[in-house]
C-alpha cells in the first residue's frame, strides 16, 4: 500500500524517538578496571599467616613482616600447632597437668620442626621460628608456658602475631 507523504513523514518521526539507546557501560568499565588493578596489586602480597576468626589478635603498631614459621595458635580453649589441636588450655591451669601439657606441646613443635625445610645460610642452619597467634584475652601465664615449651624444643625465635594499626598520637 502506498503511503501518503504525510504518513511516511509521521512514521519517520515516531521511529526516531523509539531507537533503543545502548547501555552506557563506560563508567562501569572504569570502576571495574580500577577495582581489578587495585585488588591485583593488593593481593600480590602473600600473607604468610592465616587469618582466622577463632582468635582475635591484639592490635599493635609493629610493622615487621611475618616470615616462614611454625604457627602456634592459642585460642581461649585450645592450643593448636599448625592447625592441629595439641592441648587444651584447661590443662595448663594447675601445676601437675601443665608440665605434661608443656611436654606434649614441645614434642608437637619438634615434629613440626622436623617436617619443615631447614634454610641453610652460609653453612649455618637457620634456626626455626615460631609465630604465636594468641587471643588477646589470654593471661600472660599461658603465654609464658607456650614460650617455655618453645624454648625447650630448641626454638630461638618466637614472634607474636598482631594486627597492624596506625600509630596514634600520644
Amino acid at each position: 500500500m502506498r503511503q501518503s507523504r504525510r504518513a511516511s513523514r509521521m512514521e519517520r518521526h515516531y521511529s526516531r524517538g523509539k531507537k533503543v539507546p545502548g547501555f552506557n557501560l563506560v563508567s562501569l568499565m572504569d570502576i571495574f578496571t580500577i577495582l581489578v588493578f587495585f585488588l591485583l596489586v593488593n593481593s600480590s602480597e602473600v600473607q604468610k599467616l592465616p587469618t582466622t576468626k577463632v582468635v582475635s589478635l591484639p592490635e599493635s603498631t609493629a610493622d615487621v613482616k611475618p616470615n616462614d614459621s611454625i604457627i602456634v595458635m592459642v585460642t581461649p580453649e585450645e592450643i593448636l600447632v599448625e592447625n592441629e589441636v595439641v592441648a587444651k588450655v584447661e590443662s595448663f591451669k594447675d601445676e601437675s597437668s601443665s608440665t605434661a601439657a608443656i611436654a606434649t606441646l614441645q614434642s608437637a613443635l619438634i615434629t613440626q620442626m622436623d617436617k619443615m625445610l631447614v634454610l641453610v645460610v652460609d653453612g649455618e642452619k637457620k634456626p626455626p621460628e615460631v609465630a604465636v597467634m594468641a587471643d588477646k584475652s589470654i593471661p600472660y601465664n599461658l603465654l609464658h608456658k607456650v614460650m617455655q615449651a618453645a624454648t625447650a624444643a630448641g626454638i630461638e625465635k618466637v614472634s607474636l602475631a598482631v594486627i597492624q594499626k596506625v600509630p596514634e598520637e600520644g
Binding site: S43, P139, Y140, K157, I163, Q164
Partner: protein, 178 residues
C-alpha cells in the same frame, strides 16, 4: 546525536559502530568477586622476641640503666633493674596509663639516648592485649610537630619476662629484638 542523523546518502543506514564489551565485562564480573574474596584487609605483622639460646654469651658490663616495666594487676611500675623504682603509674578508669609511661620513657630517652633495651615483665594474670599495648608504648612514640606526625624510637629491644615476685628481682628474661 542529532548531528549524526543528518543524511549523507548511504552512510546513514549503518548504525553507530559500538565496541563489543561483553567478553570484557564477563572477565571483570568474574575477576572482581574472586579478587575481593582473596583480598586481605587486615594486615598481620609480628612482634619478634628472641629467646635466649643455649649457647653461652659473654656479657659485657651492664649498661647505664636497665629499664623494666612491670605490669601489676593495678598499676604499671617503671624500674631500673634491682636499683630503684623510677615511677609508678596507677590505673586510670580500669585501663593502664600507657600514655604517661610513654611520656616518662621519652624523658628517660633524652638522658640515655644509646639505651635501646627494656624488659616488659607482666604478672601472671595480665592480659595478653595489655602486654602488646605496653610493648607499643615502650617501642616508639608518635607526636605531632608542625602538623606532621613523627614516630620516634624509644626502646625497641623489648624483652619479655616474668614479673619479680615481691622484692627479689629474680626473673627469667627472654631477650628480644624488634
Amino acid at each position: 546525536m542529532s548531528r549524526r542523523r543528518v543524511h549523507h546518502g548511504r552512510a546513514s543506514r549503518h548504525p553507530d559502530a559500538e565496541l563489543n564489551v561483553t567478553a570484557f565485562m564477563n572477565l571483570m564480573v568474574a575477576l572482581v568477586p574472586f579478587l575481593l574474596l582473596m583480598a586481605v584487609f587486615t594486615r598481620l605483622t609480628i612482634v619478634q622476641l628472641n629467646l635466649p639460646s643455649s649457647k653461652p654469651e659473654d656479657k659485657p658490663e651492664p649498661p647505664a640503666i636497665e629499664l623494666e616495666v612491670i605490669l601489676r594487676p593495678d598499676r604499671l611500675d617503671l624500674e631500673d633493674r634491682g636499683k630503684s623504682l623510677i615511677s609508678s603509674f596507677p590505673m586510670k578508669e580500669k585501663e593502664y596509663d600507657f600514655k604517661a609511661l610513654t611520656q616518662k620513657l621519652r624523658e628517660i630517652k633524652t638522658s640515655f639516648p644509646d639505651i635501646k633495651a627494656i624488659s616488659v615483665l607482666p604478672e601472671e594474670d595480665v592480659n595478653y592485649d595489655n602486654i602488646i599495648k605496653t610493648m607499643d608504648a615502650v617501642r616508639s612514640v608518635t607526636y605531632r610537630q608542625n602538623d606532621e606526625l613523627i614516630e620516634a624510637e624509644l626502646f625497641p629491644d623489648i624483652s619479655l619476662g616474668k614479673a619479680p615476685v615481691g622484692v627479689s628481682p629474680v626473673n627469667e628474661i627472654a631477650g628480644t629484638s624488634q
